[in-house]
Assembly symmetry: C2
Homo-oligomer: 229 residues x 2
């Protein structure tokens, strides 16, 4: 029953929360800690490295390890595939493709995705339902200049989300959340009133410096996106 890197993590964490190691304080160096815990430096190193990844500590070569001034608290949350999200709530999943067309990228999209004039995009509008009630309105734009094969896929049966996830890689993502008043079209599909406050999530995805897709997800009034950590 020897010392575990997890024990060291929680021991250090206790010292911090007890005020023994206030924000900004210098944590003993790895060699000293290893000696005092009676373990190898690698073990201490792992504990400290993870605490650093978690935003609790701050490390600089030669300068040493310090407790972060304002502990960088990171919210993480997974963005599930809608279908899984709905089925996870023991509700039945429904999907409808509302609209599909190929067109030149509009100006605002060109700017967002850094596209070139004349690039074609596939524009899809889909509605996802949970137990038959509108759950999410998906406004999807796929860069055909990058993924021409998307033009040949039939999105009538399953959403572009699922196709993209299994076939298109990505490396850079920008997400943003906000609120907007429902347009007449949105209100119609989501079963609410024009002007209602809707929660909106947008995601842009790139691969090797080139745009893959942009999507705007809109939810009915009252929807909340929740995460725990």
């Amino acid at each position: 029953m020897s010392i575990n890197y997890k024990d060291i993590k929680s021991e250090i964490l206790t010292r911090i929360t007890k005020g023994d190691l206030p924000p900004g304080a210098l944590v003993p160096n790895e060699v000293e800690l290893a000696e005092s815990y009676g373990c190898a430096r690698a073990t201490v190193n792992r504990a400290m490295r993870e605490l650093t990844d978690e935003g609790i500590l701050e490390r600089r070569r030669k300068a040493g390890t310090r407790v972060r001034m304002a502990p960088l608290r990171e919210a993480r949350f997974s963005i599930p595939v809608v279908r899984e999200e709905i089925e996870g709530q023991a509700a039945s999943y429904g999907y409808t493709l509302l609209n599909r067309q190929i067109l030149h990228a509009p100006d605002w999209l060109r700017e967002r995705l850094k596209l070139v004039v004349g690039d074609d995009v596939l524009h899809l509008t889909c509605l996802h339902r949970a137990d038959n009630a509108p759950y999410q309105l998906e406004d999807r734009w796929i860069n055909l200049a990058r993924f021409p094969q998307a033009a040949g896929v039939d999105f009538a049966a399953s959403g572009p989300n699922e196709w993209l996830i299994s076939t298109v890689p990505f490396s850079d993502v920008e997400m943003s959340f906000g609120a907007a008043a429902a347009t007449a079209a949105q209100a119609n599909y989501l079963g609410c009133t024009t002007g209602d406050a809707l929660f909106e999530a947008e995601r842009s995805t790139w691969w090797e410096g080139r745009a893959v897709t942009f999507v705007r997800l809109t939810y009915p009034p009252g929807y909340r996106m929740t995460t725990r950590y």
Copy 2:
């Protein structure tokens, strides 16, 4: 110039995105990989462990390592202290305490924070401004049964956020985002019209199983919370 665990990570990642290792595929075991890369198993282990943490792989003892079916797409973002967020945009930060009172926790709060009937809470309402324009309306509730010292702090000069961060530890957090129509009071403080669509973030915090604080942050129309990864 030997092999780095980062090289292994990106090599595996390339194999995945190239379709060489499709979702669900079994990745060679650590011993084999170590041999083929000509490095120690510990190095391969670290690469695989990090890819697992990042949601790319899935590992089970004896069963081996597999590429995740639906790569767990995680948005991570740090929740900055408002002041730092504003000053980071090269804007001047302004703060006003609008309201402060001690009262019994209302029912909805008791339920949310799992409080006991009769527990006192400190209720604060504050406005944060960027270049004098309303930036964030903070509706803060602090559990006095847990942190009685909060009652003695003067929040006139700086926000409860900063005090909490530097003095109160927490271990469990639940965050949620949504949209809501502006109430008359919110519209007044945020300089918008009643009924406008506002972006709302809520955060509940616990430490050692007991509630620390609950806060609801409301932003003026048009605000977007953005993250990159």
